[in-house]
């Protein structure tokens, strides 16, 4: 099982230290924005820090991935290296699944235990002492303490725009798969068409979600501060939306690379990794649709 190509080990690289500085400055700035904001102090300096950090991160992403792309296209990567990238991306996606699992777990615990117990189920009627008249329902549109957490006046039903979103994302998983098959057949025109379709669907999804959020905030009084229903709703859909944006960015970069003539029919892991990520985003949405919107 001897490889006839040695495993490429890059000699030295500035990207790790650039990324460290970037991430550190960005997150320190973010913390400073929040803390200074809470204390009523000026957040200008913190925002500047956050922006500078973000720019460093953007510079690092272009630089590091650019270096990897260059190395890949000059044939430095053996099939074994390709396998390392596949393992890496797979396990990264698994870690993202676990991140969402934490929030789904919180939703599960809240709906199955915390809220029913607050409502007095199972001889744990704490709310009747603290908050008289509290009824345990889901969606929780009357919080135990409505002064601290004003309840939402409505929720987003699943069969309107969320259903559209489901159709958009599932279709986009289909279109990206068609694009992938086209790439394997070296049909560049077809790849560009179906990948563009995928990105278009993704962007429509983002717009629809944005509209839904505006509708929730302005018309339904459904916000992050609306109690546990709002908290779980926005955290789950919000992080999902962030991952959709990341995935869309990845797919767009793949489209740009296709236009630049990158990739061959049998060597295109960057595309596959982006497609895997996109499928992951789709599956998380299906989970959201079922457990946040429908049930």
């Amino acid at each position: 099982m001897a490889e006839n190509q040695t495993y490429y080990v890059p000699e030295q690289s500035k990207w790790p230290i650039v990324a460290t500085v970037g991430l550190g400055v960005t997150l320190y700035g973010a913390a400073a924005i929040m803390v200074n904001g809470q204390q009523g102090e000026s957040t200008t300096g913190s925002w500047v820090m956050f922006l500078i950090g973000s720019l460093i991160m953007a510079y690092m992403l272009f630089g590091w991935f650019g270096t990897v792309i260059k190395e890949s296209r000059s044939g430095l990567y053996s099939p074994q290296m390709d396998r390392s990238f596949r393992w890496g991306m797979s396990w990264f996606i698994f870690s993202e699944v676990m991140f969402f699992a934490a929030f789904f777990g919180a939703l599960f615990y809240t709906r199955m235990f915390a809220v029913p117990w607050l409502g007095g189920e199972g001889d744990r009627g704490s709310s009747n002492i603290l908050w008289e008249g509290f009824q345990a329902t889901w969606p929780l549109i009357n919080n135990p303490d409505p002064d601290a957490y004003p309840a939402p006046e409505g929720i987003i039903g699943p069969w309107g725009l969320p259903l559209i979103n489901t159709i958009l994302l599932v279709t986009s998983s289909f279109t990206v798969t068609v694009a992938h098959h086209a790439l394997k057949e070296d049909n560049r025109k077809k790849v560009k068409l179906w990948l563009s379709a995928t990105i278009a669907l993704a962007l429509i999804f983002v717009c629809v979600q944005g509209y839904e959020y505006a509708h929730a905030y302005q018309d339904l009084n459904l916000t992050l501060q609306s109690g546990i229903y709002g908290s779980t709703f926005f955290m789950l859909t919000g992080f999902h939306g962030a991952h959709v944006i990341l995935g869309t960015l990845m797919l767009t970069i793949m489209l740009i690379r296709i236009h630049k003539g990158h990739f061959t029919g049998d060597y295109h892991f960057g595309f596959e990794a982006s497609a895997w990520y996109w499928h992951f985003v789709d599956v998380v949405w299906l989970g959201l649709f079922v457990f946040v919107y429908v049930l």
């Binding site: 607050l118 601290a148 908290s231």
Partner: protein, 528 residues
Amino acid sequence: MSAVADTHAQDDHHHGPAKGFSRWLLTTNHKDIGTMYLIFSFTMFLLGGTMAMVIRAELFQPGLQIVEPEFFNQMTTMHGLIMVFGAVMPAFVGLANWMIPLMVGAPDMALPRMNNWSFWLLPCAFLILVSTLFMQGGAPNFGWTFYAPLSTTYGPPSTTFFIFAIHIMGVSSIMGAINVIATILNMRAPGMTLMKMPLFVWTWLITAFLLIAVMPVLAGVVTMMLMDINFGTSFFDASGGGDPVLFQHVFWFFGHPEVYIMILPAFGAVSHIIPAFSRKPLFGYASMVYAVGAIALLSFVVWAHHMFTVGIPIAGQLFFMYATMLIAVPTGVKVFNWVATMFRGSLTFEAPMLFAVAFVILFTIGGFSGLMLAIAPADFQYHDTYFVVAHFHYVLVPGAIFGIFASAYFWLPKWTGHMYDETLGKTHFWLSFIGMNLAFFPMHFLGLAGMPRRIPDYALQFADFNMVSSIGAFMFGASQILFLVIVVKCIKGGEKASAQPWDGAEGLEWTVPSPAPYHTFATPPEVK
């Protein structure tokens, strides 16, 4: 397991290390990165240890003499955070970086640049964490387990910075774990099947899986905290329909696998050291592998044994009690196998073996107190007392830390090319052993007698054992300076070490020269 050595494993294309300070910033070399992790970890160990000295100084006598209670709480919190995330975990990652490529016959880790990013994120994160000590309101003061609402509603402003520091550590750990798994699954020398892998590699494979599975959950819980503190969500606030106990569930879903993350690599290292100094193969290789797998799997379903007193339903208490007691079985298999390895072996007791044998005995004692804690109705008495503190310090100090010391002594000749001073090493062992037992054994009695955790002052009946404990802690702390002297001395010089300084040791790592060349196994060896 035998291996055909490829002693001319250097590739002529590679140069040696670069010169100057930038070498360390820009490196992609697993040996450099391993060294940096180890140095960082020891620095954090001394810092966290200093905080422990402050704690034990205050607890030396009843009354409040040395520090304010608010600062004492910052010390207990930061001591825990720094030891867990800054000392123990990075030490094991450093050992992994140094040894896994050598043990599997790989030229480096699977993703060498990402490897360096994983390291450098740690000084960044700890700079932020330690800087909270100097912020207005002080550092986090709610215990290393940072339960809500103490950490959300009542935490100092620095809590938000603490949260982002945890995020950065998490990114570092997840990327490091991905690197370890990819290396182990993809870059083993031809002929090294999974069941021919050394135990240290097996335990790190499983540890890496645990890390990837649970660090994102930690990220989730600190993000929920961040939202509750800064954006008005009510995850942990019952008046909004949330629940403080939700915090505990999510935290401990991370927290329990975390403690196995902190011990499994030590299990692996000890499984190398005991056979080497018994001059006998490890007893029951296959069962050792299955036991680690069983421990890892079970570790996901026992988290609420940290929560027996918060009011979970009795059915839950029973389930978690039985599942927790079940973990003792595969752990016991391992302990028996280590002892069986020594049985009728040709034993010598150099420093690595002293630490390894002490590990087996004292970790088992820690395991016994763990079993006591696992019994839910008994835990109603023990919970949040010094009995718990005794338990986890027994599994962490003579467990994880002694495992790290044993590994360091075992592999220092390979890293530096010199033998360490054996007399000093043995001295370090005995001082640490006596100091550690004096420090932590009395805590069992203190807990059973009713002394609560995380208090800067205590009732008078606890005074004597507290004084003994503090003396032991000071002794243990001072002994670690000796370890620093030993390591520095060994780096600078000493008796030349051969490729295999320990005659009973086995593995590919002992086929390369000492010190290991900058680049090794550029072409993988053939493993029979």
